[in-house]
C-alpha cells in the first residue's frame, strides 16, 4: 500500500519526532549549567546530578518505589498466573464473564479508583501505609501481568502440568519445570515498570514517609522547575527506556499491548 508515499512517511516521522524529541529535551536540560532553565542549554555540568543524588527525600522516595514495585509486581504476577491457569478450566461463556471482571480496572478511570482507594484505606486504617499502596499498585499492574502471561503461556498450561504429574513429576517439579518458565516472560519486570512509573495512586494514598519517586517529582515540579528535576528525570527515564528496549527485544511488549488495544 502507499509504498514510500512522502506524505505518509512525513506524517509518521513528524509524529515520531513529536514523541521522542521532548525526551531529549529533558536530557539536554539536565546537563546544563544555569539554575534557571534555559533551552537550549548554554554549558555542560554534572552538578544537578550531584544535587539529585544527595537529596535524601528523593533517595527515600526511590527506595519506596522499588519496594512497592517489587511487592506489587510479585503479587500481580501470582494473581495473573492464577487467572491464566484458572481460565483454562472454565467454559467459554464463563470465561467471557471473568474477562470482563478483570478488565474493570482498565475501564474505570484510575483517578476514580485512586480516590475510592483513599476512602477505603482510610476506613481500614491503611491510608499512608506501604501495604495499602502496594494493594493499589497491584490492581493497576495486574491487567498487564495477565496480558503478558497469557500471551506467552501455551494454551492449556493446566493440561501440560497434568501431563507432567501423570508422568510422575512431583508438584514442586511441575511448578519448577512447567509453571515457572511461563512466568519468565517479563511479566514481573513490566509490572514493576508500570508500578514505578505510576503516580496517580500514590498521590492519593501515600503519606509523606511512603511517597514514591513520581510523587516526590510531582511536588518538586509544582514548587519549582529546577534542573535537579531534569537530572532525576533523566536517570528515571534511562532506567525505564533500557528496561523497555530489553523487554521489547526479548518478548515483544508492543505485540502484547496491541492485542489488548484491539481486544
Amino acid at each position: 500500500m502507499f509504498k514510500g508515499s512522502p506524505v505518509v512517511c512525513g506524517i509518521a516521522w513528524l509524529f515520531c519526532l513529536f514523541l521522542l524529541a521532548p525526551l531529549a529535551v529533558i536530557v539536554a536540560v539536565s546537563f546544563g549549567t544555569e539554575r534557571f532553565i534555559v533551552f537550549p542549554p548554554t554549558g555542560f555540568s554534572l552538578r544537578w546530578y550531584g544535587e539529585a543524588l544527595s537529596n535524601l527525600r528523593l533517595i527515600a522516595a526511590t527506595w519506596n518505589s522499588v519496594k512497592v514495585g517489587a511487592a506489587a509486581g510479585l503479587l500481580a504476577v501470582v494473581l495473573g498466573l492464577l487467572v491464566v491457569r484458572g481460565q483454562d478450566r472454565l467454559a467459554p461463556g464463563k470465561r467471557q464473564f471473568f474477562n470482563l471482571v478483570f478488565l474493570l480496572p482498565v475501564t474505570v478511570p484510575s483517578i476514580v479508583f485512586a480516590i475510592g482507594l483513599m476512602f477505603f484505606l482510610r476506613s481500614i486504617g491503611l491510608l499512608n501505609s506501604t501495604t495499602g499502596l502496594t494493594l493499589g499498585h497491584t490492581v493497576v499492574t495486574f491487567p498487564y501481568a495477565v496480558r503478558m502471561i497469557a500471551a506467552s503461556a501455551p494454551r492449556g498450561l493446566a493440561d501440560l502440568e497434568r501431563a507432567a504429574s501423570i508422568l510422575g513429576a512431583s508438584p514442586l517439579q511441575v511448578f519448577r519445570r512447567i509453571t515457572l518458565p511461563s512466568l519468565r516472560t517479563g511479566g514481573f519486570l513490566f509490572a514493576f515498570l508500570i508500578s514505578a512509573n505510576n503516580v496517580t495512586i500514590a498521590l492519593f494514598v501515600a503519606g509523606a514517609r511512603t511517597e514514591t519517586l513520581p510523587v516526590r517529582m510531582f511536588h518538586m515540579t509544582i514548587n519549582e522547575l529546577s534542573p535537579v528535576l531534569a537530572a532525576i528525570s533523566t536517570l528515571f527515564l534511562a532506567f525505564t527506556m533500557i528496561a523497555l528496549v530489553g523487554m521489547e527485544k526479548l518478548i515483544g511488549v508492543y505485540r502484547t499491548l496491541e492485542a489488548r488495544g484491539s481486544g
Binding site: 500500500m1 502507499f2 508515499s5 506524505v7 505518509v8 512517511c9 506524517i11 509518521a12 509524529f15 515520531c16 513529536f18 514523541l19 521522542l20 521532548p22 529535551v25 529533558i26 532553565i37 533551552f39 537550549p40 494473581l79 492464577l82 487467572v83 491457569r85 484458572g86 478450566r89 472454565l90 471473568f98 478483570f102 474493570l104 474505570v108 478511570p109 484510575s110 483517578i111 476514580v112 479508583f113 480516590i115 475510592g116 482507594l117 476512602f119 497491584t138 490492581v139 512509573n197 505510576n198 503516580v199 513520581p214 517529582m217 510531582f218 515540579t221 522547575l225 528525570s233 528515571f236 527515564l237 527506556m241 523497555l244 521489547e248 499491548l257 496491541e258 492485542a259 488495544g261 484491539s262
Partner: protein, 294 residues
C-alpha cells in the same frame, strides 16, 4: 451428581475446582470493587468541615455541582479536549500504522519504542519537557513563533497546552488499535483493488478504511476515555486556570479536603466514562456486525 450432594460438599468441590480463578476475583472485589462502591456511597453524604464526611445522606453534592455554571465549563472542557485529542489521534494513526507495516527492522524498532514510551514512562517525566518548551518567556515554541514575527498564543496554563499534553500522552493508543486492525486486513483485498484500477487514495477510502473502522472505533473509545480521566498532563500544563474533571477532583480531595464533593466529581467522571463506553461499544458492535455481513 453434583446437584444431589449436600451443599457444603458442593461448595467444597466448587472451591477445589475453581480456586485459581476465585482468588484473583476476590482480590479484585475487595481491593477494587469495594473502593469504587465506597466512593459512590461517600458522594451521597454531606460534607462536614471537622469530620470530612458526616452521617447525613444527601444529594446536594451532585446538585451543587450540576447547578454551578463553572462546573459545567469544566465538564464541557473535559469533553471537548478529549474529543479533539481523539480526532487528532485518529488522523495521525493511519500514516504511522502504514509506516509501521512497511518499515524494516531498525525503523520499526524506533517507531515501536516511540509509541511505547508515553504508555510506560511516568506522566510526571512526560510533562517536564513541555513545561520547558512552552514556557511563555523563554520556551522554544513561543520563541520560534516570535522568530517568524508572530505573537505566540498563551500555551502554558491554557486549553492549547493541555491539548498538546493530551495528544502527547494518550494518542498512541489509537495507533496501536489502528495498526492491529490493518494487520488483519488481507493484503490480497488491497492488491485486488489496485489491480482493478483504484488509485492508492481510492483503495484506502473504499477498502482499507471501511475494514479498519472497528479498530478505529475501539481506538477512539480508548483515547477518549483515557483523555477524560487524564490527570497529570492537565494539572501540570493547565494548572488551576483550565481545570478538567480529574484535576478538579484532585484539588477537591487533596487541597480542599472536601471528600464528598471530590467523590461526586469522580462520580460524574465515572458516569461520563460509562456513557462513552456504552455509546462507543454500540457503535463498535454495529460496525463489526456490518463487516460480518459483507
Amino acid at each position: 451428581m453434583l446437584a444431589s450432594s449436600p451443599l457444603h460438599a458442593r461448595i467444597w468441590e466448587g472451591t477445589r475446582r475453581y480456586w485459581q480463578i476465585l482468588v484473583p476475583t476476590l482480590f479484585i472485589l475487595f481491593v477494587f470493587a469495594v473502593p469504587i462502591g465506597q466512593l459512590i456511597v461517600t458522594s451521597f453524604y454531606a460534607y462536614d468541615p471537622l469530620r470530612i464526611v458526616s452521617d447525613r445522606l444527601t444529594i446536594e453534592n451532585y446538585t451543587a455541582i450540576l447547578s454551578n455554571s463553572l462546573l459545567w465549563a469544566v465538564i464541557s472542557r473535559t469533553i471537548v479536549l478529549s474529543l479533539l485529542t481523539t480526532l487528532i489521534a485518529g488522523v495521525v494513526a493511519f500514516p504511522v500504522a502504514f509506516r509501521l507495516q512497511q518499515a524494516g527492522k531498525a525503523e520499526r524498532f524506533v517507531l515501536v519504542m516511540a509509541l511505547l514510551s508515553p504508555i510506560v514512562v511516568s506522566p510526571v517525566v512526560l510533562a517536564y519537557p513541555w513545561l520547558v518548551l512552552l514556557a511563555p518567556n523563554s520556551g522554544l515554541v513561543p520563541e520560534t513563533i516570535r522568530f517568524f514575527g508572530l505573537t505566540p498564543p498563551h500555551l502554558m496554563y491554557s486549553n492549547a497546552g493541555v491539548l498538546i499534553g493530551l495528544v502527547y500522552g494518550e494518542s498512541v493508543f489509537m495507533v496501536l488499535c489502528v495498526h492491529a486492525a490493518l494487520e488483519n486486513i488481507p493484503l490480497s483485498l488491497v492488491r485486488a483493488s489496485r489491480v482493478l484500477g483504484a488509485t492508492p487514495w481510492q483503495s484506502f477510502r473504499r477498502v482499507i478504511l471501511p475494514l479498519s473502522l472497528p479498530g478505529l472505533a475501539s481506538g477512539a473509545l480508548l483515547v477518549f476515555s483515557i483523555s477524560t480521566s487524564s490527570f497529570m498532563m492537565p494539572y501540570l500544563l493547565g494548572g488551576r486556570q483550565v481545570p478538567v474533571l480529574a484535576t478538579y477532583a484532585y484539588d477537591m480531595a487533596s487541597v480542599l479536603m472536601n471528600w464528598p464533593s471530590a467523590a461526586a466529581v469522580a462520580g460524574i467522571l465515572l458516569t461520563l466514562t460509562g456513557i462513552s463506553v456504552g455509546l462507543f461499544g454500540r457503535w463498535i458492535s454495529k460496525l463489526e456486525r456490518e463487516l460480518g455481513n459483507v
